[in-house]
Each structure stands twice: as C-alpha cells, then as structure tokens.
Point group: none
C-alpha cells in the first residue's frame, strides 16, 4: 500500500527540504518522490546531508515540468493547504486522509499523490483546484507555516499509521512485556501477608491500629499489575529485611515454591 503513495513537491527552493522530505518518507516507508519544476538543484551536499541515509530517494526522484505530469496516473490527488481559499474545497484532516487510504488503495492499480507547494507561497489556486481534496495540518493560528519536510513528515506518519492499522498489515512484533507471566492472586496474597509481618517486625505497623496502611499498599501494588518475577524480588527484599533485623523469617517463603531462583536470590 505505501509503495503506491507518491509525494509531490512543487517549486521547492531549498535542497535541504528535498533531503528532509526524502528522510521523512523513507522513515515512514514511502519511496515515490516527484519534483515539479524545482527552483534549486536537487542533488547537493545539503540535500544529501539532510537525507541522512535516504539519499537514494533524492537520486531517484522524478523531476517533471508540471503537476499534470506528476500525478497523471493517480486516482486521488490531495493537496496540502492552509485554510481554504476563495473557493471552498473538500477539506480533510491528516487523520481523515489516513482513514481513507485503505479504501482508496483497495484496487491494486490505484495510486495516490500528496502534493506540497512552495516554501514561500504554497500551492497556487490553479494547483489546488487540480486536487480532489485538500488536507490541512492543524497548526497554531499565530504561527501556521510548517517547514516543508515537517509537513511531509506528518502526512507520511498518518499514511504509515493507516497501513499499520490495516487488518492484514504485517503484524508488529508483540510486546515483550506481555510475555512475562503476571503474579497470580495467590502469590499476591502471600506477598501481602509477608509484607504485613515484616512491617510489624520493623515497628512500622501495628495491626491493632491499622488505619489504612495495608489497603493503601495493596492498592498501589495491584495497580502496577506485578509480574511474578517482580513479586519475587519484593519477597526477597522482605526476607533480607527480616534477616537484617533478626526477625525469624517465619514462613517467609511459604507458597513461593514457584520462585524464579535467579531473581529470588539476594541481588549481590
């Protein structure tokens, strides 16, 4: 899908912006860059430097004379625009653009162009009127002019998100986090019992006047959804505390038979 989204820059003045655009595109998995009548050299030290490894896109960019030439094979042409001009045009947000992409690109031959104007004056009215829709990146009304490569970055980011969120897109690798088993209820209860004994032992807690102490500690601990390995560390700390204060580690290890030996041991 991403290989059928073209970025079109019209009348760009600064080679650095072409390089920055190439980098933003490659970062997001886009590769098709067309330059309409650039007002600067395309391949320069500055464009290659800003491309920062994505200079292949600069070298391969297609340079053409007119917007027509750049988008003739596209089934959807969207122009990046500030607020709409004299003639209101269908205006979408970058997020709405992203939401439309899968459907727009459902047919294998479909191609989309995202068109960006000049650094100083944007797209002309004639150019805007060649677009199916205009996309406006929300900005601070007091300072609304985005850097060209930054504008490309935002739209390319929305394209990538749209692609990732597609049902049959390549699955992102799953969070490692989730592969760690969480502590069971039983393990948590053994921990809380151990914690309370230890707090009594060090003179911090008196069950006769409990106030809300254990409740508060429970709430905080449960909120963090501890993994089994983390709970083992906490129990190790309690046992070390009991040992250091000369308490008998009464059943300190009860119900903890499933401890991961590596992390149950004192950390030293």
């Amino acid at each position: 899908m991403l290989d059928r989204i073209r970025i079109v820059l019209i009348g760009t003045s600064h080679p650095g912006n072409i390089g920055g655009t190439a980098r933003a595109m490659h970062n997001m998995g886009l590769a098709d860059l067309a330059l309409v009548s650039p007002r600067c050299e395309v391949v320069t030290a500055d464009s290659v430097s800003r491309a920062s490894g994505a200079d292949a896109l600069v070298h391969q960019a297609r340079v053409v004379d007119s917007l027509e030439d750049a988008v003739s094979d596209c089934s959807l042409v969207v122009g990046a625009s500030a607020r709409s001009r004299t003639l209101p045009w269908p205006m979408i947000t970058p997020r709405e653009l992203g939401a439309r992409l899968p459907k727009e690109l459902a047919q294998p031959q479909a191609r989309i162009a995202l068109v960006f104007g000049r650094e100083d004056s944007g797209l002309s009215n004639a150019e805007l009127q060649r677009c199916h829709a205009h996309v406006h990146i929300p900005t601070n009304p007091d300072f609304s002019s985005l850097n060209l490569a930054a504008a490309v970055q935002v739209l390319a980011y929305e394209c990538r998100l749209s692609w990732i969120e597609q049902p049959d897109a390549a699955p992102e690798q799953s969070d490692e986090e989730l592969s760690q088993p969480l502590a069971t209820h039983e393990e948590l209860e053994h921990y809380f019992a151990h914690l309370e004994r230890t707090l009594v032992g060090i003179g911090f807690h008196d069950p006769a006047t409990p106030r809300q102490l254990m409740a508060r500690l429970r709430r905080m601990t449960l909120r963090s959804r501890p993994e089994r390995m983390e709970l083992n560390i906490l129990r190790g700390i309690l046992s070390a505390t009991e040992k250091a204060t000369g308490q008998k580690s009464l059943g300190g290890r009860t119900g903890n038979s499933s401890c991961d030996a590596e992390d149950d041991a004192p950390h030293k």
Copy 2:
C-alpha cells in the same frame, strides 16, 4: 493544556535541530523547551534560521545540566525511544500518548515532559529508566532513525490533536484517584535513592553487581504512578527499616519537606 507540555532535548549536537524543534513546537502551540547539556551552541545562525520565526523559543530555552533539573516538577515523563532495550518498559504509541494527555493534565499543576535523546545515540538506559513510559514513533524497520525535529514534530502534532479534540477543554470529571496529587519526578528520585541505600544496608543489594535490580524496582514503581501520599508511606517504611537495622537514616528525609505529616509518621 499545551502550555504544560515540555519538550526536553538531551545532548543535542546540531543547532539546526534546536531551531527545527522550536519551529515544530511553535507550529503546534507548544512553548516550553528545555535543553539538557547541549553539545553545541544554542543560538546560532543555523538554529535561528531553522526556527524560521520561532526563534523566541530558542532564546527562551532553559539550558540545564541534567535530566533531573529539566523534569523535576513533572508528574509524567515520557521518553522517545526506539524499540525497548534489555528491560522492557511500558511502551505507548504517539496516538496513545495523545489520548492520555487530557487526563494526565486534568490537575492544573500537572506538567508533562517529552524527552528526546542525542542525534547519534538516543537516550541512555539510565535516562530511559527515569521515564514513566516510552513512546515509539512507528517507522520503517529498515530506516528507523528520525530526524530529531521530525520526531518532535510528530509528537507535538499528536499533542495538538489531543488538545483540539478535547470536548471544550472542559476538565474531565476527576476520578477520585486523580484528586490526589501524584508524586513528582523529584520526589520519586529521592525515594529511589533512599530505597537503594536501604537495600544496601540490609545486604540485599550490592551496587558493584547491580544486575537489573534497581531498574526492575523503578519500572514497577513508576508503572503504578504513585501518589505523593503513597510515596510518603514507602519512605516511612524505609526509615523504619533503617532504624530497626541500626542504619543511620542518612538524609532519609531529604527533599521530603512536603510530606503529609499524617501519613509520613509510622503507622502505629
């Protein structure tokens, strides 16, 4: 809401990226920029040129020596990161970050920091472990290194969308939970320092062979987003442990002057 979101750049090498960051921020309505130990001059022809009218943010940027100094008053610290390292940390997408902002900023004194690392090496593990969560901008796996200002642009864009989409900026009805002030970064760091001293004192931890102990304890604690009052209880437990084991409670209460006396006292 946007005025309570801080962008923190650590060890930036290129003035142009500081300027580009300032422009991206101002475009999206952010204004609070902190620079931790920049490895370049901040105000240069290049940074002012790339700021392109947002150079006030460059001039006003706060330059500090450490991440601590930059985020001490923040209730949520999110680090921009590539995929998770040795120790998996809570990882969110830029969009999830945006979705969380209204709730995170519901309390008027709440502040959020978004932290970005060096152009060449990102954030260190120590820096990442000072964050509540990491945010990963989805990128092309074959070319994943975003330009610094481009990364700021994407997250700032999500911040702005989140703000725009707020229903009337009407503060969410607060969960009971939210009516309790969360611990600040600084309070958390005092707690972690105190915890580490205590673990050394009871013979559980040897800083010479730290393994991942403190990192694991940090991760679990930060995940639970402790309230100030809860942290005071934990510090009270540490002090009681030190007392019970005959350790000197060296600076155990440093930086804890704002303790709620009721809950800081031993619970007995």
